[in-house]
Amino acid sequence: MNHLSRRELLQGATALGVGIALAPAAGFAQKKTVKLAFIGPLTGGTASNGLGGRNSFLLAVQERNADPKSKYRYETEVLDDECKPTVAVQAALKATSDPAIVAGITHYCSVTAIATVDTYHKAGMPAMVWGAVLPEITYSHQHVEITRVNGTMINQNNVAADFAVKTLGFKTFALIHDTTDYGRAHAKWFGEFLEKAGGKILSTQGTAKDQKDYTAELTRAKGDKPEVVWYGGLTPDGVRVKVQMDKLGIRAQFQGTSGIKSDTFNETAAAAAEGTLCFVEGAPTEKLPGGRKFLEAYAKGGFKEPSEAYGPFAYVAANLVIDAIEAVGPDRAKVAQRLKRTKNAGTIIGPVEFDEHGQNTVPLISKYVSQDGKWVLWEDSEYASGKRTLPGLKFKKM
């Protein structure tokens, strides 16, 4: 350092500073800049889903910025809601109070999505929910600002209950769910559809989110000898339930909700994951015309974390919002109107169409089974073709 004069240092620092300040402005001076917000959980127990969603969102924006035909240059503001309502309200306020931000791709956790509905409505900023599945987020109001690309848990559980009872022939169920609104509402809807379909609920037990030990609940369930253990909750807990089921020698079928449809579930539960069922809104990413492209692009994007189950939804939401901005210009009210009228939009998750509540009405639900460490669409699986038998069905025959 000694041989550098103070003057030289100063010059260097100035050059660096000016460079940083001017670089973004110089390169893209010709296009107007529009800002988009992404809000999701980047820290805490559900961070993996939030990070996957964020990456998918960033991917959509990068693609659009690389497209010479786009009218605007898109900047991003990524905010962490920590899956906590207060933090989410603050993040939403931060996004809505920045006039440069035209719209948001918002929330994975239901509790944060429901908490911020009014914030977006008051600010008049269009917010498209990309992951939260609680029905009330769209169905409790008619605000023009709120739309949701992913389906609600109502359709999911209808399909799940019918499939388990009518197609697979299971009769008795032990329900375990986490006590967040995700798990609780899933248990409520699944339970309702199950009884309609003719299934029998032997017990319902709520457990704390991020609970480590499920042996007590599983032992209790075991006493009723259910054919299916159903879990309503997210991946980390789902893994524990399944692994501990095996350790306690419970050989019933394990069935989960969309919350466990993540690569992490198969990786972590490893051999125990085999034969697990779960149900997800939309069609499988790989199966759609744009899906493969998405996964390839995602892989090329060099992201540290996988896209997870809801990454494609965040990607689609970003694209729908950008399409609307391209069409009507960067005006919150116009974009909101335009988004709500979205009809039959072709996306990588299939056609998207919003009802009067802003809810995507294309109730496409996919059934998955874990096979050799991967989630395989039921119809394509060796379980459907008869090559393999679901663990629960084997057990039933005994």
Binding site: L79, P85, D98
Partner: protein
């Protein structure tokens, strides 16, 4: 001359705060940061200036307070472009109220209450239940809710009195967990979704959701709550300062430092701790109650153990048992993490590191408690 120095210093702090909050682009942000560092270094290197400043503030206490009040009133004007920062400022003021209550318990009386979040939650949930379920007007609910915190706190008082030190910490930690699980699992508290659509406050028919205007400038709707929180925080601070500089503060300090000596001087430990606990819980509950009407909804994760820690760090970073310290702590610790939101997932890590470093290098806090002078 000294008076000019006082107001100039206050104005400079105000300008730095506003610039620090509003600077978005890297260059102004760096400039503000540099200015803050330069000011701090300058004060450190020039003890003469520092002493002159302190002396000026001591000599012109009333003028300094008036100037500070004026600037606090003007803050929403400076932040008018950003409802978000107005909200954060209001939140910081809520934590002043909560912090003062908790400081009476922890700082003054040494009752290590780690259930601050639960008592704030009792206030917030009471407002939710009283308005949404029972149909009370919001202002009445806000006035009634703190008493719920006081009453439930009194029920918890038996274990509080019987245990001390680390065991007491555990009892209160257990209470936060119990409170959280119960709120999450009861039907009447709305379960995990909590209580939504809590009606807003109205003052003489003026709804707090309408945008107020000050000096002909329209402010964001959250400015209403900012001013409400400002009034509440000022009153709380005044009351707590007066209590602290009186027999109560003296008695509580003594029983905190040496229970046996206090008893032998005629101090009833039960009465002292009960008073500190109830008065403290009142203000913590009041903060929670205003929070409920401000955000419009309450749910279990708003009041989990992590928030107890935020409250605790407000007190300790500000200065244990220090009334102005609580104000300073809340006004720093609440906005700072928001300011550093761009750090995304590194934010909490940094927060933890900052607290640890602060405790090691300035364990007495930023504004340590002063000697009581009864003036």
């Amino acid at each position: 001359m000294a008076l000019v120095l006082v107001w100039a210093a206050e104005l400079a702090v105000f300008a730095l705060v506003v610039a620090g909050i509003l600077a978005e682009r890297p260059l102004p942000l760096a400039a503000t940061g540099l200015a803050i560092v330069a000011a701090a270094v300058g004060l450190r290197l020039r003890p003469g200036l520092r002493r002159a400043l302190v002396a000026a503030f001591v000599a012109h206490r009333r003028a300094a307070l008036a100037g500070g009040a004026l600037l606090a009133l003007a803050l929403p004007l400076a932040l008018r472009a950003s409802p978000y920062w107005t909200f954060v400022a209001a939140l910081a003021l809520l934590y002043v109220t909560i912090g003062q209550g908790l400081n009476l318990q922890i700082g003054t009386a040494g009752v290590l209450n780690l259930a601050g979040a639960a008592f704030a939650g009792l206030g917030g949930y009471s407002v939710g239940l009283l308005t949404v379920t029972a149909g009370w007007p919001a202002w009445l609910a806000v006035l009634a809710a703190p008493w719920v915190a006081v009453i439930v706190g009194t029920l918890l008082f038996v274990p509080i009195l019987k245990t001390r030190g680390h065991y007491l910490a555990l009892v209160t930690i257990a209470f936060v967990f119990i409170f959280n699980i119960l709120m999450n699992n009861f039907e009447f508290t709305g379960g995990p979704q909590g209580i939504k659509n809590i009606p807003t406050l109205r003052l003489f028919g003026w709804p707090f959701t309408a945008k107020p205007s000050l000096l002909g400038v329209e402010l964001p709707a959250h400015a209403n709550f900012y001013y409400a929180a400002l009034v509440m925080a000022s009153l709380t601070t005044l009351v707590l300062r007066r209590l602290h500089d009186s027999w109560l503060g003296l008695t509580l300090n003594t029983l905190r430092d040496d229970e046996i000596a206090a008893r032998c001087c005629g101090v009833s430990i039960t009465r002292g701790k009960l008073l500190a606990f109830c008065i403290g819980n009142f203000f913590i509950g009041l903060g929670g109650a205003l929070y409920a009407v401000m955000v419009g909804f309450v749910s279990p994760p708003d009041f989990d153990f992590g928030y107890s820690l935020v409250m605790l760090s407000v007190i300790i970073i500000g200065g244990v048992d220090s009334i102005p310290g609580v104000v300073l702590g809340a006004c720093l610790l609440l906005p700072l993490p928001e300011r550093f939101r761009f750090l995304h997932e590194y934010r909490l890590l940094l927060y933890g590191l900052v607290i640890v470093v602060m405790l090691l290098y300035r364990p007495q806090g930023l504004w340590p408690a002063a000697i009581r002078r009864y003036r």
